[in-house]
């Protein structure tokens, strides 16, 4: 006990010349009255961002953007098959590509 009293006395001595002047500020934060005070308090509120939904939506938007931006250009290669000239992609998969 004696020891605690000693510490308190020491702190009191050290803080003797310090005065707490921010009572109003603290009150503004704990009990906001004006719109500005309310706004600042609202902004400082802690909020929880759900990681999974937000990152999924962001990733989805990114993927859509990449797909739109980099749509594969249609191949315009031509191929002669059976005396006719076709677009390669039209006859591909019909087992006729190799004929010429």
């Amino acid at each position: 006990m004696k020891e605690r009293e000693e510490v308190k006395r020491c702190i009191d001595e050290q803080l003797e010349h310090i005065q707490f002047t921010k009572q109003k500020e603290v009150l503004k934060r704990t009990h906001p009255k004006t719109a500005r005070e309310k706004w600042v308090a609202w902004m400082n509120q802690e909020m929880t961002v759900p990681v999974v939904p937000v990152t999924s939506v962001a990733a989805l938007l990114l993927v859509i953007n990449m797909m739109v931006g980099d749509s594969p250009t249609q191949t315009n290669q031509l191929v002669e098959v059976g005396g006719n000239v076709y677009y390669k992609h039209v006859v591909e998969g019909r087992g006729l590509e190799g004929e010429s």
Binding site: W42, M43, N44, Q45, E46, M47, T48, V49, T73, N76, Q77, L78, V81, G82, G83, N84, V85, Y86, Y87, V90, V91, R94, G95, L96, E99, S100
Partner: protein, 593 residues
Amino acid sequence: MKRKNFLYGVVGMLAFSLCYVYLLAPIVEERKVERAFSQGEPNANELIINLIDRANTDSQKLHYIEKYMLMYSFCCPIKDVYLSPSMSHWQEEQSWHGFTLEEMVPYLEMYVERRGNVDGVHYQEAVVLLTDYYAFHTSILEATEYVEAKRDDFIDRSTMIHMPRELTMKLVELYIDGEQYTKAWSLIEEYEQEQLHLEEDEEWKVIQDGELLEWKVELLIQEQKVEDAISRITDWQKRVQSPEDGGSYDIEERLASMLEQLKKIDASFSYGTVSGVIANENGEPIIGAEVYLRTEQQSSHSIHPESEKYRAITDHNGFYQFDHVVPDSYQLGVGLDFEQIDGYSWPVAIDERIKVSSGEEVDYDVTLVQLLEVNHPVNDHVFTGNEMEFSWKEDRTAASYQLAVTTYFDGGSITHIVKEGIEQPEVEISIEDLYHSAFYVSFAEPKERYSSMLHPEQQLSYAHSEGRFSWYVISVDEKGKEIRRSTGYRLNEELAQDIPFFQMKQRTLTSADQLLLRKKVDQALSSYQHDIEQREGIEQEHALIMATKLLEHKKEREGDDNGEIRRVMRGYIEQLYELTGREEYEVMLSEKG
């Protein structure tokens, strides 16, 4: 997380997006254009126009016009397909065509008007392109006045001491086209005088002289000084050295073909004209097609627009015209876009020519006709019965049809007309007729030996039951002249639904056939000879045909000094004739040994 931190994050993202749209996107856009442009993608035009329109500053716009329009549009637009009666070639990949004059004109006008500095070659190119446009759409006179004014303006404003070459050449050309020959001569002389004081690379000078000579020759012909023109070309040819890559300069080719023509003509000749309309059979004109008038010497070569002497472009009515045509025999060449020829063909005889006599005005129209549609067999239909039905859409203008079948083998294909004079748009072909179609055999003593490549699939021909075949049909008039055909450009998906391939599985491959397909030729021959003894009916006939074909090949390769191979071959053909009584074998036997 504090709410305000989240908000700062969102605002930051928005700011980044705005930066992207206004600062980064243009750079990305230009990259995209750059890629489309360098890979020759067909939509590059649209992207480039967009890029120019959206550019923020004038200097940026002019830079893009220079980079994407002027650098690549000076001579000739690239066409997808080049056709002439004796040749055709097409680009393996549909590519960017460059800009048409019509598309470029608003941008070129902007370029000429807003570019402060006239130095450099692009300004002259822009003026030349605009002059071409005015000459085509207004009149030669207006175009001449335009280029005269721009040339004077150039000389006033330019920091260069010598005459603007491109503008001067264009003016000479227009003076000649407008029959202002005196002005053309004096401009050429003025230009040549000035050139004397310039020190230039000798090779480059020769090329330039050649281009000037082309105009001088035109003028000399006009004055009926053909001999003089000939000697000037010959002198020039002595000076020119072809490029190191073994090719030749475009001007060299143009002057060479001019010289050939001049040697054939009379000094007192006068120019002819060739004009006509290029349209499809529905009367829709083919606009913007390139048209070339090609001499006999040129007609066996591919079309290279820059080395063609006679070049024209069809107008909005599909009309083209060549003035100043030296009397000669020509073939017309046409350069088209795929869209213009898709689903159509130009039926023309391989040896068709346009004869132009002195002073003659020749009309020559080109009509593209729709392709015939095939019905059956298509898409790898498999025939198993002896009678095979072929059918196609009727051509009401046809007197009869010809049916051709193509056989494919390693590295090539061979096409035979299997039936002519077909009156209906359908026909039945018997597999036996195909098996017994005539093949080459000679009973003459081979003069020299040569080892030609043997293609098993080609030898088996229609008897190759694992093979694939394609077919086409041609409709002809009473004189046998082609009206339309079923083969051509089928790029539209609707036209590509039915691909005329089929298979013939009436027989199965014998072990002799299998040996042949594995290129064991001698073993295959023994096996066929064995089959001749052992089998009967169609398989015996097949063995006789195949043994004869392989003996023919053996004879070419090894010679036949004592006539043994030919005796055996003749024996086989006689046997075939006895078994089938077919005329084909009678004809083969009638050949003297």
